[in-house]
Structure formats: structure tokens, C-alpha cells
């Protein structure tokens, strides 16, 4: 979905950096199938999530020509519509598909507007609004990323039991991070961490969101 925007605006100085919160082996088939022409970086330790305080995918941050953020790290077009899927058949009713696509399209339209208009875009936030929207990480989030990073290193070095201990600790310290939980969770045959344990966790959110709906024009 980012490729079309990149193609349309790259000549006007627009760039996409895709960050896979993933292992190279798991990310590779997806990248090789999609063949994006923008850089696809592999962030096996979730370093970008650590420094930008991200908790989920897709999340994005918009950065201007001077290297300044013009939108905070935030949900990039995801929606909670998936919570209403038929969990047996793994299908969404047509009206829900339409709603999911509408929310995604709204976000994509905002990026296109910014890519075309830069600071004149109504989606580029001024400094004060942006500062008010930032979510500072607290101490336990920092400690969670430390435990997670130790876990990914141990896993790469064949110490999966030890890794699991640190991953559990990371999720305990930072329960809002789906990145940490899903990366460490057991995957099904398609490589997805969307089994019963995932949905139990999603259901436990109750009225809280999985993907926070951002006010794009606020």
C-alpha cells in the first residue's frame, strides 16, 4: 500500500522507510513477494519501537525535510474491525471489510496530502499540538525493551528457554506492547500469532482499542 504513494510522490522528495519488527527469515518472503522499491529495513530487536515508543504494527511517524517530526508515532491506518471477524472461518462480513478499508484509505489520503503539500498540509501538525500528542515512555517501558533485546539475542544464539523468560518479563513490564507479545508468541503454520491466546488477549482489552483511532486533522 505504501508503494503506490512512493511511486506517485518520490519525484517530489517523498521517501518511505519500511521497518520490519521481525526476524530477517520471517520478513524475507514478504519483502521478496512485494518487491518494494523503497528500503525495507529489518529491526530484529525492535530498536525503532524502543526509540519512538511504538507498541504495534502498522505504526508510522512523519518526518519533514529538516528531520523534524510533523506527526507523532501513531497507528498508520489499522482498525479494530478485525475484532468482529468470524474466528472460525477467519472472514469479515462485507460491511466490515468496507469499514476497515475506509479507515485505511482515510490515512493513506492524509499521507498523500502531506506528500503533495508538505507544511501546508492540514495533516502536518504544528509543534505545540505535536508535543501534546507525544506519549513519553515510562521507566518500565525502558526496562521492557531491555529485557526484550536480551531475549532476541538469546533466541538468535539458540537459547530459546532462556529467551522465553526474558520475553515474559518484557511483556509483564510493558503489557501495552503488542510488538513484544506477538514477536515472542507461538506462531501458527502461516507464521501468525493470532491463535486463541492472541484473541484472549484482544478480548481482555474490553472497551480499550487495539489500534487507537487517531484524530488526523486535530
Amino acid at each position: 500500500m505504501w508503494q503506490a504513494i512512493f511511486d506517485d510522490y518520490k519525484a517530489k522528495g517523498f521517501m518511505v522507510l519500511a521497518i520490519a519488527m521481525d526476524t530477517p527469515d520471517a520478513a524475507r518472503p514478504w519483502i521478496e513477494a512485494a518487491k518494494p522499491t523503497y528500503p525495507c529495513l529489518i529491526d530484529r530487536d525492535h530498536h525503532v519501537a524502543d526509540i519512538y515508543n511504538m507498541v504495534n504494527v502498522p505504526q508510522a511517524v512523519w518526518i519533514d525535510e529538516q528531520g523534524l517530526m510533523v506527526r507523532p508515532p501513531e497507528n498508520a491506518g489499522g482498525s479494530d474491525v478485525f475484532r468482529q471477524m468470524d474466528r472460525q472461518a477467519r472472514t469479515l462480513a462485507p460491511d466490515l471489510v468496507a469499514e476497515r478499508d475506509r479507515l485505511k484509505a482515510r490515512y493513506v489520503a492524509a499521507i498523500r496530502d502531506w506528500a503533495a503539500n508538505g507544511p501546508q498540509s492540514r495533516f502536518a501538525m504544528d509543534r505545540d499540538k505535536l508535543k501534546a500528542r507525544l506519549r513519553p515512555a515510562d521507566r518500565s517501558i525502558g526496562e521492557a525493551h531491555a529485557a526484550f533485546r536480551l531475549g532476541t539475542w538469546l533466541l538468535r544464539n539458540g537459547r530459546s528457554d532462556d529467551a522465553a523468560r526474558h520475553f515474559t518479563e518484557a511483556s509483564r513490564l510493558h503489557p501495552q506492547s503488542w510488538n513484544i507479545w506477538r514477536q515472542a508468541a507461538t506462531k501458527d503454520q502461516s507464521g501468525l500469532a493470532t491463535g486463541p491466546a492472541f484473541f484472549a488477549r484482544v478480548d481482555a482489552l474490553d472497551s480499550r482499542t487495539y489500534y487507537e483511532q487517531v484524530n488526523l486533522e486535530g
Binding site: 519488527m21 508510522a60 528531520g67
Partner: protein
């Protein structure tokens, strides 16, 4: 053989010595592993020096060795370690992370693509950049 993780780097320090919650390193090893150097004025990297109160310094620096884990914790940074595997993580505290975001300057990072080629965010200065995350899971 002790491995020290810091930001996106990983450094093997053969002469490191762990003692409970303490991790004793030589000053050159500390700098090699973290980029931070122990100087008379404090813990320094580039132009930045974080002062270390003298009482703390006398506890953490002994016989040319530094308790890097103790130093890190006392400065408000996360430390994690796995004793059985001799691996330590000297992290960056949430206070420092948040302060960096508050400047609104996008924190820089460098990561490899599938071919192992490193890309740095700052290399794309002069363009509008959409940094967007995804995952296979």
C-alpha cells in the same frame, strides 16, 4: 566470554568480570561496548558529559575497573542480564528517550536491509520521510 549489548551493537569483552549485579569492565572495554568514556568530568560521549557524584564514583570505579552495570543503573538506565549466558544489556533510559522525542527531532537510527546494507534515517534528510512499521506475525 561476556557479551555486552547496547543500542544496536553487540560487543564481546573477554576480560569483563561479573559479580552478582556488578559488571566490572576496563575503561577501554566500556567505551568499545557503549561509546561512553569514563573521564574525570564524568561519563562522556561526543560533547556530552554526565557528571558522576564522587561518592558514587569511589564505589563504582576500583583498580582501573568500572562497574558498568552499577553505573548504568545509577544514571537511570535499564540493565538486564542473563547470568547463565554471560550476556548483559546496558540500555537507554526512558527519560533520555522521552527527552529526545520532545525536541521533535526524529531520533536517528541505522538498520540493515535484507542484503545487509545499512540505511540511516539521517541519510534521507532533505526529503519527507514516512517511517512505517510492519511485521509478518
Amino acid at each position: 566470554m561476556t557479551t555486552i549489548l547496547h543500542e544496536t551493537t553487540e560487543t564481546v569483552c573477554p576480560s569483563a568480570r561479573a559479580d552478582g549485579a556488578a559488571l566490572w569492565l576496563s575503561a577501554p572495554d566500556l567505551e568499545r561496548a557503549t561509546g561512553w568514556a569514563l573521564k574525570p568530568e564524568g561519563l562522556c560521549r561526543d560533547a556530552l558529559c554526565i557528571p558522576i557524584p564522587p561518592p558514587l564514583r569511589s564505589t563504582l570505579v576500583k583498580n582501573e575497573a568500572i562497574d558498568a552495570a552499577g553505573l548504568w543503573s545509577s544514571l537511570g538506565n535499564p540493565v538486564a542480564h542473563d547470568e547463565g549466558n554471560a550476556v548483559w544489556l546496558l540500555g537507554t533510559g526512558s527519560g533520555q528517550r522521552s527527552a529526545a522525542l520532545e525536541t521533535l527531532e526524529a531520533p536517528d537510527f541505522a538498520l540493515p536491509d535484507l542484503a545487509g546494507v545499512s540505511h540511516r534515517l539521517a541519510d534521507y534528510r532533505g526529503r519527507k520521510v514516512l517511517v512505517v512499521s510492519w511485521a509478518s506475525w
